[in-house]
Symmetry: C2
Subunit: 489 residues, 2 copies
């Protein structure tokens, strides 16, 4: 039987598990799911299923395992590494009908949710009790908690609060063999292997999370946000070092360069100080006494490093105004460039200045503009590589600059992705960062969960077919255009 026949033969069983309305085979319907936030990678899924319970997910996966059919999990499809790229020969398992908040347990400071729940809805449910859920990717209005698990999502506030992995204490998962397994629970530490940590960030290759227990945090007593404008990136960078060096741990420190400011201004008229070569957004949260004393300290440090304008936001409306430019920066770049690549890399914070200088040099050499928007506190860069896709060869040059930026990150002791994941998009960069023994250990680990290799195959770990035989060789696949409609990072 051909792969496509095998798939078709499964449809009646899939309907028996998920119901008629839970299985999509129509081409137009399947088209909805052909890509995630990186539209450059696209493929029509063989079949789409929309289960409503953990048992249905387990049933679908068991059926796939019995027939050796690959499956791909998908949350809201806002990912930026093509981690949810479907397969023509496989089943796409979409969690969007699993959107119940099962429990808000305030005495134990936990929420229990289904994987399709939107990130921000956890905070919305906890807010009346004075609590919130900390991980806050910019797509938090629409991205799913299950997708956050797959990608170990961060957000502007992960400097202080950490990534998704720091906020999940329990998972119910369906393994690639279709078993329902419980990992952890409401307690902070469980005996045995901490497979929660390994599962989070595994990009759908170890199975599907079907119920998620997260930590809720007390809403801070006070939040204050500072916008500081500098002549150039050097001064801004020195201010970041001064703040961290003084022992202040802000909830967020974000930085944007002149080009990113120009784009944001064009898109949302955020009115950042005129003539700024760099703006820094520093947010402090915590007990009021602490926030106020640290706010003064941060203001002084920024002024010492040459900030020529300082704005303070103390209420939600003012804060929203300051954040608007930053949060819209990715999409805004569309206003100043016909096409762009969103890159995501990490450098040790101490190497930020040097790496930014080398990115500027790369840009000058190649004639390709690069706008920089980044989480300065933890060295997570999001360079936006701008080009005109109507200009012959520009795409290739942009791609080369984008790849060279990742090389700079690795050279500086950093990483090829801070929070967007590997997916398909960066799979051939993995050998640039990991040795053959490291990759072999990861592969053995994957096969322990998925001996048949059916769970999101050809994502995360390189294979000779994808990347060639030579370790470190690259197929050179990069996103040429990211979808710029929503807040994506």
């Amino acid at each position: 039987m051909s792969q496509s026949d095998t798939l078709h033969a499964l449809v009646p069983d899939l309907r028996a598990i998920c119901g008629d309305d839970g299985v999509l085979t129509d081409t137009a319907q399947r088209r909805t799911y052909e890509s995630d936030g990186i539209t450059y990678h696209a493929e029509l899924p063989g079949v789409v299923v929309l289960p409503t319970t953990p048992e249905q997910v387990a049933g679908v996966v068991r059926l796939c395992a019995e027939h050796g059919v690959p499956f791909v999990p998908r949350g809201s499809g806002t990912g930026l590494s093509a981690g949810a790229l479907p397969r023509a020969d496989g089943v796409l398992i979409v969690t969007s009908r699993m959107r119940r908040i099962i429990e808000i347990d305030i005495p134990n400071e936990r929420a229990v949710v289904e994987p399709g729940v939107f990130n921000l809805d956890v905070t919305r449910a906890a807010a009346p009790h004075g609590y919130y859920y900390a991980p806050d990717p910019s797509s938090q209005q629409v991205c799913s908690v299950g997708g956050n698990i797959a990608e170990n999502s961060g957000g502007a506030h992960c400097l202080k609060y950490g990534f998704t992995v720091n906020h999940v204490t329990g998972l119910q998962i369906v393994t690639p063999q279709g078993e329902l397994v419980e990992l952890g629970g409401k307690a902070a530490d469980a005996p045995g292997y901490d497979l929660i940590g390994a599962f989070i960030g595994s990009e759908g290759t170890l199975g599907i999370a079907t119920r998620i227990t997260v930590r809720l945090l007390r809403s801070p007593q006070k939040v204050r946000t500072l916008l500081a404008a500098f002549d150039g990136m050097d001064a801004g960078g020195r201010a970041v070092s001064a703040v961290i060096g003084a022992g202040v741990l802000p909830a967020a420190i974000e930085m944007m360069d002149a080009l990113a400011i120009e784009a944001a201004e064009a898109a949302v008229a955020c009115r950042y100080p005129e003539g700024a070569g760099a703006v820094l957004i520093v947010e402090l949260d915590g007990p009021a006494a602490e926030v106020d004393s640290q706010f003064e300290q941060v203001t002084r440090l920024c002024r010492d490093e040459g900030a020529f304008e300082l704005r303070s936001a103390d209420d939600p409306a003012e804060r929203t105004t300051i954040w608007k430019g930053r949060k819209s920066a990715f999409a805004a770049v569309g206003r100043i460039s016909p096409a762009y690549i969103v890159q995501d890399g990490v450098v040790p914070r101490t190497a930020l200045g040097e790496v930014l200088g080398r990115i500027a040099a790369l840009s000058a050499e190649s004639g390709i503009r690069v706008a920089n928007v980044f989480h300065a506190g933890d060295g997570n860069l999001h360079p936006l590589v701008l080009f005109d896709d109507a200009e012959p060869g520009a795409g290739d040059r942009a791609e080369a600059v984008s790849a060279a930026i990742l090389d700079l990150c690795i050279e500086a002791g950093g990483s090829i992705t801070g929070e967007h994941g590997v997916g398909v998009d960066k799979v051939c960069h993995m050998p640039d960062m990991f040795g053959p023994d490291d990759l072999a250990a990861m592969d053995r680990f994957r096969r322990a969960f998925d001996p048949q290799g059916i769970a999101n195959p050809e994502k995360l770990l390189p294979t000779p077919r994808l990347c060639g035989e030579r370790p470190g060789a690259r197929k050179g696949v990069h996103p040429l255009v990211a979808s710029g409609e929503a807040e994506l990072f």
Copy 2:
């Protein structure tokens, strides 16, 4: 060849790898290593090696893998679950000669150390720069960072700062097949599987950490400690709930009952308030402004819940006085009982009151005294089950009470170990907490790293040989006597 002949045949190769002084075969020398902190479990290791480099560790493990010989890793031997119990048919790999602090990297807030380094020495090396290493098991003067990795050690301050897993960003490990593999690095998040999280707490079953990169934290600007005395445990428990409920996150909240106070008084004359049915130690740290305002709040909440005496400690000497009783409590119990079992379990904080009541009832029914010392903030109980080993049957009754306490923890939605690990000691309790699918998933994971089953075999996961065929069946192995000489928890 018999197992013992196989081992003997390896000795010349082991000497070639570790040097003559790095291999111990003499019985008296091997005797030193026959147990860890739980002396009830003891076995003479077949051979002991003391490597000095990661390459030597890898060489020893490769040799073991080639010959199918089991190995057991050991740090300082302060563990409390017999996780480092040696094997007569195996090689004990002791990391005590790997004690270099390789780097204190203040700009990136990291330390890189060898596995044999004492926990407290990391803080000692960072302190001149105004930094410290957060995980602080009570054995921190002598326990090794490598051992902390194996057990995912906590400490009194893990309520606010988390466990070892929250403070390690990079590991070099030797896998059970003798490969040197790098996991993570200095950056906070790495692509691929988060095998650091899985490795930490794996109790030596996935290999040996040979180089460890940890996060350093800024020393807090201010630390204040409060001792509050209550008539009984109920009032103390209510005060804990009130503090947490008010949104205060202390660095530590510890609680002791009357019997534990009596023991501490007998051992170290800590002068806790007379007639106290419970004492609470609350430590606050952070920016001075925050600490002072929260200290007032906590003091008020304790008084509202009936604290009849409150003492404040603002300098290191006063703090040491308050902590002395708490830190000596385990060893101190030897003053009031000829023998005792140290138990370690977790309950959701909201279930603390009920579980403590049921422990008291168990104690009354059985005539076995139980002293309670615990990390109240995160529900980590350390009941000390007291008995007279000269009294026939008392040991069995104490063991039954100790096991019943774990059942209470599981029933309340908690766990069979908070920070001491599973080791040999609790391996037959694992099926009480995990279902067959859960255990099978863990076993597959273990075998992905260790297909031959030579890395610390028969620890952590139950086998029919150890625990019988029936899931949930127990061999009933419990420590009858813990070594009471040092600060052990």
